[in-house]
Subunit: 227 residues, 2 copies
DNA sequence: GCAAAAGTGTTACCACTACACCCATGC
DNA sequence: GCATGGGTGTAGTGGTAACACTTTTGC
């Protein structure tokens, strides 16, 4: 490099969210080293000069969370924001680019990880500025839920409409009218009915539900005009 | 940095937008040094270890654009996103945190700056990845226009309603129905009428307009619920 | 009077809300 | 039958879109 300026360390922190109704959960890992050794925190790594931030976020999940490479490859991951308070890290000036990842609620993944209710972290419960990062991640997800089909990456390819509603309620943190939820998502063309009915496995009564899927495979935003 | 692992340079780039109907304009400055010497580009600086990114963005405007400190102090400025493509800078690995600034269209500011139509930059017209950064800035402004009172920082404290509509149209890049625009913003409580009528200076006919102001001084978002 | 700019009113339409009600299954 | 969960319909409400019309000025 031609520059010799003394510069901050560049790091990446990753917030992985999943939905397990009625909870919205975040992946936290016990820190193996000082500072805050043993405390639960967001996984993160220092950026290497030959990798992008996105690649560093994926590497975080492989190295720190022990997730297999293919699983990381399939994960939805987007840049969240960059956190740079001067004393956010007691070791010295560190600027961290946070990433938001969304995972399906598969029980086998992250067996060693601690999934915590994302909106019930006690104040002072996370080291560094990780509470702020986590709050930004939850806010981002809530915002995107309103005008995109992002919930697609949180649910299996086919699902009951009540599962979907439970996911929405867990993320937004409030109840939604059942009938209107259904009508709106169908009219928007966001989801559509599968042909088949769900097999009656593990159910204890009630009319068998249809299965639904998201109509569009890609992440899409419905632009709503201002006038 | 000799004692640390080799890391990218951390920089800040700033997009300043202003509205001059019918154009949305961005501040570009000729680069004083290589690479791309003489070409118009977004102003930027390398981050210093003792300053925050926000402070670095402000310093950029003082040092590169020559804007007086008080003017920078009053400017609306928010973090946009972080750009980190491996070869975005031919000098070597550089990660840049972009900031979006919004300025009132005061003719005296940035006399040496080149204000360019933000949506009419020819392809390949900007060095580095500055076209991508500029596009992200415009998209952010358009998005916030829909659900916040951010236009407040682009207009003088009191304005004619037609000025406001012209600003919205310049930013969104399309025409808006005059009557509905007025009704909606008033009903939302976003703007309110001043007491006085505008003096008839420099006008060539037509009914004299009222002056309006934004009802809330702070930046506010109107949360619209999903069901 | 006429053009220009500002402001008001009207109507049809559509989306949202809050319900009530019907359907299909297990027990 | 009855509880349970799934699915449908509807009436009231309120916002939106497109348009016509009135008011107040300069010339």
């Amino acid at each position: 490099m031609s520059f010799k300026l003394e510069q901050p360390v560049l790091a990446v922190d990753v917030v992985i969210l999943r939905v397990r109704p009625p909870r919205l959960e975040a992946l936290l890992l016990p820190r193996p080293d000082e500072p805050f050794r043993g405390a639960l925190a967001l996984p993160g790594v220092a950026l290497r000069i030959e990798e992008t931030l996105f690649e560093a976020a994926r590497r975080t999940l492989r190295e720190k969370a022990g997730w297999p490479g293919e699983a990381v490859q399939a994960l939805y991951l987007e840049q969240l924001a960059t956190f740079d308070a001067l004393y956010r890290d007691p070791r010295g000036r560190t600027v961290s680019v946070a990433y938001l990842g969304l995972a399906r609620s598969t029980p086998t993944l992250f067996p060693g990880g601690a999934w915590q209710a994302a909106d019930a972290i006690p104040p002072g419960g996370l080291p560094f500025d990780h509470e702020e990062i986590l709050a930004a991640a939850v806010a981002r997800l809530r915002g995107k839920l309103r005008y995109t089909n992002i919930a697609r990456v949180l649910l299996p390819p086919a699902f009951r409409i009540e599962e979907l509603q439970a996911a929405y309620e867990a993320i937004l943190g409030r109840a939604i009218n059942r009938s209107n939820f259904r009508n709106k998502l169908l009219k928007l063309g966001l989801i559509e009915q599968e042909r088949i009915l769900l097999e009656a496995v593990g159910r204890q009564g009630g009319r068998p539900p249809h299965l639904y899927r998201f109509a569009r495979a890609r992440l899409e935003a419905e632009e709503r005009d201002f006038l």
